[in-house]
C-alpha cells in the first residue's frame, strides 16, 4: 500500500480555487472533503480521484478565517461544506446551497470544535 505522503499536497488558500479548477477540467471527481481541528487551526483535506489515481490537497486555516466554497465548481461539495460548517464551525463563504446548519439539525453547537487548551 502506498504511503499517504506520496499523494498529499499542501496548498495555500489563494491556490485553492485554481487547483480545484484544474482538477475539474481534467475530469477528476471529488471524493471527499474532511475537516479536522489541529492545534487551534482547521485542517481541511480535499480528496480527488480519477480512475485509480488519487490526490489529496491540504489547506490549513486559522480559526476565524473564511474558506472559499468550491460548491460552484463541484456541486457535490455542498454536503461536505455544510457538514464542516455545522460540525466544526468552519466559515465557508458562498456555498451554493447554504443549508444554514440545517443538514443534521443537531442541538449541540459545533460539537467538533475544540479549544486549544483542551
Amino acid at each position: 500500500m502506498e504511503k499517504m505522503n506520496d499523494y498529499l499536497f499542501k496548498i495555500e488558500k489563494v491556490e485553492l480555487l485554481s487547483v480545484i479548477m484544474e482538477k475539474k477540467n481534467a475530469l477528476w471527481r471529488l471524493v471527499q472533503i474532511c475537516c479536522a481541528m489541529v492545534n487551534d487551526q482547521y485542517e481541511i483535506t480535499y480528496s480527488f480521484a480519477n480512475g485509480y489515481e488519487f490526490e489529496n490537497f491540504r489547506l490549513i486555516v486559522d480559526k476565524d478565517e473564511e474558506v472559499p466554497s468550491i460548491s460552484r465548481v463541484y456541486n457535490a461539495a455542498i454536503f461536505y461544506e455544510n457538514e464542516m460548517h455545522e460540525l466544526f464551525g468552519l466559515n465557508v463563504s458562498e456555498i451554493k446551497t447554504n443549508l444554514k446548519d440545517r443538514l443534521y439539525r443537531i442541538d449541540a453547537q459545533t460539537p467538533f470544535k475544540k479549544e486549544a487548551n483542551e
Binding site: Y104, R105, I106, D107, A108, P111
Partner: protein, 150 residues
C-alpha cells in the same frame, strides 16, 4: 365456535440505529423466522398500528417523530424497544447527539436487548407484546366503561 381475536398490527420505526437491528426486524418478517405466524402483521401506517417497535436510540431530531407516531396510534398500544441502543442508548450513549433510549420520550413496555438483537429475541419480544396487548385491551375496555358510566 372459538372466540375470534383481533390480530395486533405492528409498526416499525428506525430511530438512530445502526441498521443492524432494522435488518434483523425485517428478517423476522421473512420466511425463515416469519413473526407473522404469531398473529401480527407489519404495517406502515401509525393509525393502523397497535404495537410500536422502535430500534435505535433517540436523537434530538427524531424525538419529535417518535412522539408523533406514538400519539397517532390508537389506544391501547404497546411499545417495544428492540436492541441495546433502543433500551439505553448503547454504544452511542456518550455521543453528543444521542438523548438515550426510547424511554426518554415515550413509555416503553418491553425491552429486547442485544447488539444486534437476535431474531429469536425479537420474536420473543413480539410474542410478549401480543400478550400484553390483549391484557391492555381488557383493562382498557373496563376503563372506558367506567368512564362512560361515571
Amino acid at each position: 365456535m372459538a372466540k375470534i381475536e383481533k390480530s395486533p398490527w405492528l409498526l416499525h420505526y428506525d430511530g438512530s440505529s445502526c441498521n443492524g437491528c432494522d435488518i434483523e426486524v425485517l428478517a423476522c418478517t421473512t420466511p425463515v423466522y416469519d413473526v407473522e405466524r404469531f398473529g401480527v402483521i407489519n404495517t406502515g401506517n401509525p393509525m393502523h398500528a397497535d404495537i410500536f417497535l422502535v430500534t435505535g436510540g433517540i436523537n434530538s431530531q427524531n424525538a419529535e417523530v417518535v412522539k408523533q407516531i406514538y400519539n397517532q396510534m390508537p389506544n391501547p398500544k404497546v411499545v417495544l424497544a428492540v436492541g441495546t441502543c433502543a433500551c439505553t442508548g448503547g454504544i452511542f450513549k456518550e455521543c453528543y447527539n444521542i438523548l438515550g433510549g426510547v424511554d426518554t420520550v415515550i413509555p416503553v413496555d418491553i425491552y429486547v436487548p442485544g447488539c444486534a438483537a437476535r431474531p429469536e429475541s425479537i420474536i420473543d419480544g413480539v410474542v410478549q407484546a401480543v400478550a400484553l396487548y390483549k391484557e391492555k385491551q381488557k383493562t382498557w375496555k373496563k376503563e372506558e366503561k367506567t368512564e362512560k358510566g361515571a
